[in-house]
């Protein structure tokens, strides 16, 4: 035993290599991620927002549409932390209750886009041929419209409303995922282990989902996180323009647009909803940056 311990003294070159191999990629990634304080804080903030979304209705001091005409357009006070709007509704309560709306719109839109784009990317990268040409043509066409213009066009067809905003944002986030996954698929398909699986007679679906998809997951995760931030911005912009959420929904973009009329008398109405959007989007973008650095194998610790 004693002699073995002596042999395995750390510092000998051979041992260092063994220790390096023991670390699983997940652990390496986690360590790289935890080193980035900003991203950890961002993740904590996002978790906080998710909790707020669920417990919000139980903890807010006022109802979402609780009118109080004796307290209209007030500044912040101990009763109304963020002040009140033109109907005397408590803005703090409304902003808290608006959290699940923005999160749900951003997350559901990007999830739809990510799933559709990933499947399209896998299929077109794996089978190539006419399917690939068609999918890539569609992506090119969608890319030919600047993002927000495409969203406005889709909302103009389908009509205003949050559901249509989700569809619009999902449509314009799809091609990015399709392109990323397609190029990954084409690269991984040529690798030895996939060729081996093909020669062993593995089914196409097994190869696609068990061998190729895991290789594309890191790229998908980074793009997913970054897209949520952008989607929340786009969705709130559309609501701000009157094409998304409709009153009396406490959607943040709508709250901001509502505050516009009272800019000279009650500036506070536009400050807090803007801060809410800003911090939410900032957390998703910071988290995305952190994940990108943690998942990038080229970046060493």
């Amino acid at each position: 035993m004693g002699t073995q311990e002596n042999m395995l003294q750390p510092g000998t070159p051979g041992i260092a290599i063994i220790q390096e191999e023991i670390k699983s990629p997940t652990k390496v990634m986690l360590r790289k991620f935890l080193k980035q304080k900003n991203s950890v804080i961002a993740l904590a903030f996002i978790c906080f927002l998710v909790i707020i979304s669920f417990i919000g209705p139980a903890v807010v001091p006022f109802g979402v549409n609780q009118y109080d005409y004796s307290a209209i357009l007030q500044g912040p006070s101990s009763t109304h932390w963020f002040g009140t709007d033109e109907f005397g509704r408590d803005l703090f309560s409304r902003i808290v209750l608006g959290t699940p709306i923005s999160l749900a719109v951003g997350i559901s839109a990007v999830t739809i886009g990510a799933v559709t784009g990933t499947v399209l990317g896998l299929l077109s990268g794996y089978y190539r041929g006419w399917l690939d040409s068609v999918v890539m043509r569609i992506c090119d066409t969608l890319f030919a419209f600047p993002g927000i213009i495409l969203a406005i066009a889709i909302v103009a067809i389908l009509g205003s409303g949050l559901y249509n905003v989700v569809i619009a944002v999902a449509v314009f986030s799809t091609p990015t995922f399709a392109r990323i996954v397609r190029s990954r698929t084409m690269a991984i398909k040529e690798s030895v282990f996939v060729q081996a699986a093909i020669n062993l007679g593995a089914s196409d679906s097994r190869i696609l989902f068990k061998h190729i998809l895991p290789g594309a997951i890191p790229d998908i995760i980074v793009q997913y996180t970054m897209s949520i931030g952008t989607s929340i911005l786009t969705a709130s912009s559309l609501s701000f323009l009157g094409m998304g959420a409709q009153p009396p929904t406490p959607e943040w973009g709508l709250l901001l647009s509502n505050g516009r009329q009272y800019m000279t008398t009650s500036a506070i109405m536009t400050i807090f909803p803007g801060l809410a959007i800003f911090f939410t989007v900032l957390s998703f973008n910071t988290l995305g940056d952190g994940l990108r650095d943690a998942l990038d194998p080229k970046l060493t610790e």
Partner: protein, 306 residues
């Protein structure tokens, strides 16, 4: 090179054609009867019929399509339902405003973004880097309409220094341009930084330093010049993005540009105008992106064109 540029320009035509076709079917995709939607709830059957004739929806779809495509090729974008005048008239005078706003935003955004990116990149992993990149990630996370509001409240309402609406003189461009340029500066800063960080690792940078050159010469003359290529590409792509992205900012400042026209048209259900504007936005986007690609090929000596 000429051959490559020519091929790229030709390659644009199918995409432009597909986009034009998409935009044509776009109006026909509106659920229900667009003519009834335009005419309004209380419209009589005769009113609806009149609107349908005006929109050209009474003809067979193939004739509609043919008329539309010949119209687009000749620059005839149809008649606006709101102003009852040709769409191209209103587009014409607003286009210049949007173009000026875009150039102004892009100019300051590029300068600020490059300075911030180089400053962060040359001080990699120091406080300057962290500060610079924190500013940049904040810049891409800010809702532009909120930035616009804050600027209006501070410089327009509080200090009364600058006009907050219109496009009458240069001063009315300042606040919208600051708003629009913020996210551009942030995006360019992020790209410049990563490009500078990569370039500073190169051997020739070590050589330049070993020769005893001043650090500022190394950074600007050696590193930045090499990063310029990717910066030019990003700036070019942002230009196309800006022309569309100005929509929200124009709405905030009631700026008489193409973006605010689009919003007005959507609110008014002015389908001929919406159709033309979407076509214009995407066509210029395609053209600019192709030109940027060609420019990239011209600037990059490493690209061999077969």
């Amino acid at each position: 090179m000429l051959k490559y540029a020519f091929r790229r320009l030709l390659g644009m035509i199918p995409t432009l054609f597909i986009v034009t076709t998409c935009v044509f079917f776009f109006v026909r995709l509106i659920p229900g009867d667009p003519a009834r939607l335009v005419a309004g709830e209380q419209a009589t059957e005769a009113d609806v019929l009149a609107v349908r004739t005006q929109l050209g929806l009474d003809k067979p779809i193939s004739t509609q399509y043919l008329n539309y495509v010949t119209g687009v090729v000749q620059g005839d974008l149809g008649k606006s339902l709101r102003t009852k005048r040709p769409v191209s008239e209103e587009v014409g005078y607003r286009y210049g405003n949007t173009l000026k706003l875009t150039f102004l935003s892009l100019a300051w955004g590029t300068i600020a973004g490059v300075l911030l990116g180089v400053w962060s990149g040359r001080n990699r992993s120091k406080w300057q880097d962290y500060t610079g990149m924190a500013v940049a990630v904040s810049g891409i996370s800010l809702p532009s309409f909120w930035v616009g509001f804050l600027l209006i409240m501070f410089f327009g309402v509080e200090l009364r220094w600058l006009p907050t609406t219109g496009a009458s003189d240069f001063s009315s461009y300042i606040l919208p341009a600051i708003t629009l340029g913020t996210s551009i500066a942030a995006i360019i800063a992020r790209f410049t930084r990563s490009s500078i960080v990569e370039t500073l690792k190169e051997d020739y940078i070590r050589t330049a330093r070993a020769k005893g050159l001043k650090e500022s010469v190394v950074v600007w003359k050696h590193a930045f010049r090499n990063s310029l290529l990717s910066v030019v590409t990003v700036v070019g792509l942002q230009f196309g993005f800006l022309l569309g992205g100005a929509v929200v900012v124009e709405a905030v400042f009631a700026f008489p540009g193409l973006g605010s026209l689009l919003i007005q048209s959507v609110n008014f259900r002015d389908y001929p105008a919406i159709q033309s504007l979407i076509l214009i936005f995407s066509a210029q986007f395609i053209i600019i992106n192709t030109l940027v690609d060609i420019l990239y090929a011209i600037l990059n000596p490493e690209i061999k064109l077969s």
